[in-house]
Amino acid sequence: MDRHVVGSVTDIPPGGRKIVTVKGRQIGIFRIGDEFFGLINRCPHQGAPLCSGEVVSRLVAPSPGDYRLTRAGEMIRCPWHCWEFDIRSGQSLCDPDSVQVRSFDVAVEAGNAVAEGRFIAERVEVSVEERYIVVTV
């Protein structure tokens, strides 16, 4: 497992995403507030590019007709068959116990740590004033 610098935090605004390629894998990096999450860009159902789907809320209805929008901007909906997954965990909305998207650890590191540490940052220019998104693959 290596830690890969995939961009600066300013590359992805809150609510945004960026699809990066690390070790030949496409990974969607999502930003929720100031937190970052990584999911493989491949739906467990039929292999669609999951991370290019819509980012949506989780709609729950404790009883018919009683609708509540929760977890605003924390679900990713597959661009093909609309299966929804929790961006934070990769868990499926419909079948959380048995279906999951592979997720990756994503951290934010200061520029000086990145400049001095053991990171792989082939395509990212590192400056000590910035903060960087680091994914473990």
Binding site: P44, H45, G47, E54, W80, C82, V99, Q100, V101, R102
Partner: protein, 370 residues
Amino acid sequence: MNVTVLDRKPDRSAQTHMGFIDCDVHPYVKGPNDFDPFLSKRWLEHKRTIGGRSRQGLAKTPMYPRMSPGSGMRMDGWPKGGGHPGSDLPLMREQLLDLFDVAYGLLAPLVGGAGGERNLEFGAAMATAVNEWQLAHSCDPDPRLLGAVQINAEYTEAAIAEIEKRAGDRRFAQVNIPPRGLEPLGRRRYWPILQACAANGFPVSLHLGGTSGHASTGGGWPSFYHEEHPSYVQTMQTLVTSLVCEGVFEQIPNLKIVLVEGGFAWLPALCWRLDKHWKQLKAEVPHLKRAPSEYVHEHIWVTTQPIEEPERPEDMLSTLEWIGPDRVMFSTDYPHWDQDDPRYAFKIPLPDDWKRKIYRDNARALYTLD
């Protein structure tokens, strides 16, 4: 936790899906005027000044959910240069035809509104226009794409004329009739059209959809799209039952029917029920010389998408065996939101000879393709 589906590799055993025949591909218009070059001045003016009158009760209710933005299309199917999914041949090649080296794609144009048009003369004009449009925009530029003759089944004479006009043109593979019509398809008023299809070597494809004006289920209008989608199964069951019970297959022994996008796992159970009742009610339908299931197996083909995904994946094998692997044909439904990918659609490996039949040989034989 079972994450096997995530890491499952594509079925690459001899790449059996490659070069498959796709029995459900949707071409779309680039814009509302695409059909105009194929309409006479009389009908062009009608289209511009009066327009279509469909049989749909809920006139402005769209047929598809909007959750995958834009009327139920796969999100990555939108051409970058603009236009509707299915309207851009290079993108269709990239995402389907070339990607899987598709041998043939059977077109199911759900555009133009010819089949459900209440103004029968206009419906017939639009059917002709959509047929010409298929040739000009799909079949001639890419000979892998085979057209489906559009007709309005309520206008018998025009429908037969259109079928006869296209007969022998190998760019057309079959005749499309929307399953939701004014009456079940086995009724005698439709026999001349079915006869013309069979006589001219065209299988009849029943692609889900159509707007009958009747409630879409036997129990009334559904509230949710989630209800509407499985209601197409009821429609298909109605048509299979009608075609069998009316004696259509006795009357037209070379008629071939293809059920497209209506599922298939229900077919064995329907046959069991029809056979059971036939034993009890044979006196009511003495024109049926054989058990209903025999007519079904001889005359009816099904396409796979949207494929059933049984809780125990191995149950798919029994289902296919009950239907007969010689009657099942693979389809993607590109570029719709619920399309199937040939690499992943079956959740269980199929025997090699079944794969060959389902991905290729059955369609090749039915449509007498090279």
